[in-house]
């Protein structure tokens, strides 16, 4: 038990965080695999990223090491950038196809 870590954090065991993050991540993955709407897929990806964030924060807290939490900020920033680009792409597709179903995108194959 690390004395540098506030006790209130340690009331929830680390494993719980890990399991939680893993579950969240898996839900994200499953969402990506099962949904066909580009926007929803994209949201599921965000879910995966948030699972990572949770995990990083938890580890960071348990290790009393700020690095992890700083990393989370970067992930958020980058995710924001990705959102901007991703939504722009989806919008572009929507303009051309009037739809955002990824399965309509199969001109490029074989």
């Amino acid at each position: 038990m690390n004395p540098n870590i506030p006790e209130v954090i340690q009331t929830v065991p680390l494993q719980y965080y890990v399991f939680f993050a893993a579950a969240l991540f898996s839900i994200g993955v499953l969402g990506v695999l099962t949904r066909r709407n580009a926007i929803i897929i994209f949201m599921c990806v965000e879910l995966m990223l948030n699972a990572v964030n949770v995990l990083l924060t938890a580890f960071s807290a348990y290790r009393a090491d700020p690095n992890g939490q700083i990393f989370v900020f970067f992930i958020m920033a980058v995710a924001a950038a990705e959102v901007a680009v991703g939504l722009a792409i989806i919008v572009m597709i929507y303009r051309n196809l009037q739809n955002t179903d990824v399965n309509l995108l199969n001109r490029l194959k074989f």
């Binding site: 990806v45 990083l56 580890f59 980058v78 990705e82 680009v85 995108l105």
Partner: protein, 470 residues
């Protein structure tokens, strides 16, 4: 570091040059800038410096790979010409994006901290998502962008999850500290081991996706085909070079052999074999040159993975030098290939092999240049590609991976089949109505192609210039 700063500043500056839409000005300026940065980059040769609290390290390794990245960009830029002259409104923005992505690439080759790895990958990727879809009105380009984006984002998640687990297991993001933590396990480390291993494997997969290693390669053919050729060339050279440098750094500095060999090596080897197989066999059946080049880029990822498998735990020696030489030879040849394909496709509006028919008669220079690059990619002597393969295979044989090398050799035999097809089309087939006109080539493009051919042959005749510098 100087190159990162210069690139970022100039990239920003470039955004303000957007009022001048003339490529006549922008192109030389860009080439001048890149040439300058390339020179500046090599000023750092021989010294080792750290930046951002040791998150970035500039050493010979990073300088060398930065050199390849910048050189590739420099010779690639002339081929943007046609694209830009078509009245693209946001000319300067594209150049800026290119410059920014170069920053990402440089971060990838000099990172020392997983955060920088992540940032490098993202800077590079996000720029690429945009560029892939830059032909806004073209559905294929749109599709490529979306596919690349969705899958890229997904695998960013995987990569990050891996990093997070690794962090959980070792408590650090610094490469050398990860290695140290693994080698000197703290009490209670045993229970963290699954996390460590899963983390490592997930990172392997994440980076494997970026360098299009099988079975995480599915995006590559589709995206390369849809992306405007110029940016596809960018993806298949700069992204791949930087990706492999990053991969090697990760394996060497964070996952050293002592503890991890048993964990990631079999996986890596399996990926390597699969990549070689899929890349080469897949390319055989293609009818579009661009798609063939995409599979070819997968197969070359396979060859480079051999160098990773033949890992010697250092950023020097056979393995690192092999990757360096291979990347250089591969980039030079690939740029020329994409360049010619782009010029021909623009002029003739077709990307299949037959579109090249009779090119030797209409454009001997293009034909010659594409021939040299195909031979280099096929690994025929007198070209850099031969020594690339040679060094990589040597590294593997030296470390006892004879079976792997034999497999790779067999696969490169297969590769001859599809690399010869453009040559056959250019030299041995007659022209038809769509292919009997001369393809327009600007001076810069001709110069770049000549330079690339010369470089390829130079590497093929005097490999000692580059081999063994690390």
């Amino acid at each position: 570091m100087n190159s990162i700063i210069l690139l970022s500043v100039l990239g920003l500056g470039n955004l303000f040059l957007g009022f001048r839409r003339s490529n006549r000005l922008l192109l030389p300026v860009m080439m001048l800038i890149l040439g300058g940065i390339l020179t500046v980059n090599f000023l750092d040769w021989g010294s080792t410096q750290s930046f951002f609290n040791g998150m970035l390290t500039i050493d010979n390794f990073s300088v060398a790979f930065t050199g390849i990245v910048l050189l590739t960009a420099l010779v690639l830029i002339p081929f943007s010409q046609k694209y830009v002259l078509d009245g693209e409104a946001n000319l300067a923005e594209y150049y800026s994006l290119l410059l920014f992505s170069l920053v990402g690439a440089i971060m990838l080759v000099s990172y020392n901290h997983l955060l920088m790895l992540f940032l490098g990958i993202e800077i590079l990727s996000v720029a690429m998502y945009v560029l892939a879809g830059s032909d806004k009105r073209n559905l294929r380009s749109n599709e490529a962008a979306l596919k690349y984006f969705l899958m890229g984002a997904f695998f960013t998640g995987i990569l990050l999850f891996g990093m997070a687990l690794l962090y959980g297991a070792t408590g650090t993001f610094v490469l050398s500290e990860i290695s140290f933590a693994v080698q000197n396990p703290a009490p209670g480390f045993e229970s963290l081991k699954p996390m460590l291993y899963i983390g490592m494997l997930l990172m392997l997969i994440g980076i494997g996706f970026k360098v299009s290693a099988a079975p995480f390669h599915f995006w590559t053919p589709d995206v390369y085909e849809g992306t405007p050729t110029f940016f596809a060339a960018f993806m298949s050279t700069i992204v791949k070079t930087a990706g492999f440098a990053a991969f090697l750094k990760l394996l060497v500095q964070a996952f050293p052999a002592a503890n991890a060999q048993g964990i990631w090596l079999p996986t890596l080897t399996a990926m390597c074999v699969l990549t070689l197989l899929i890349g080469n066999v897949g390319a055989v059946a293609q009818t579009s040159i661009k798609r063939m080049l995409a599979y070819s880029s997968i197969s070359h990822a396979g060859y480079l993975l051999i160098a990773l498998v033949a890992y010697n735990g250092q950023l020097e020696g056979a393995s690192a030098n092999g990757i360096l030489f291979y990347s250089l030879a591969y980039s030079v040849a690939t740029v020329a290939a994409f360049g010619v394909v782009k010029l021909v496709a623009d002029a003739r509006q077709r990307e299949d092999y037959n579109g090249l028919n009779g090119l030797a008669k209409t454009n001997p220079l293009l034909a010659f240049s594409l021939t040299v690059s195909m031979l280099s990619l096929a690994g025929i002597p007198l070209t850099g590609g031969f020594f690339g393969k040679f060094f990589v295979f040597s590294a593997a044989v030296e470390n006892g991976y004879i079976g792997l090398v034999v497999f790779a050799v067999v696969m490169s035999m297969v590769s001859i089949y599809y690399y010869l097809r453009p040559i056959i089309a250019m030299y041995m087939r007659d022209t038809d109505a769509t292919t009997n006109e001369v393809v327009p080539v600007t001076t810069f493009q001709a110069g770049a192609l000549l330079l690339l051919a010369a470089l390829t042959v130079l590497l093929g005749v005097l490999p000692g210039l580059v081999a063994g510098v690390l």
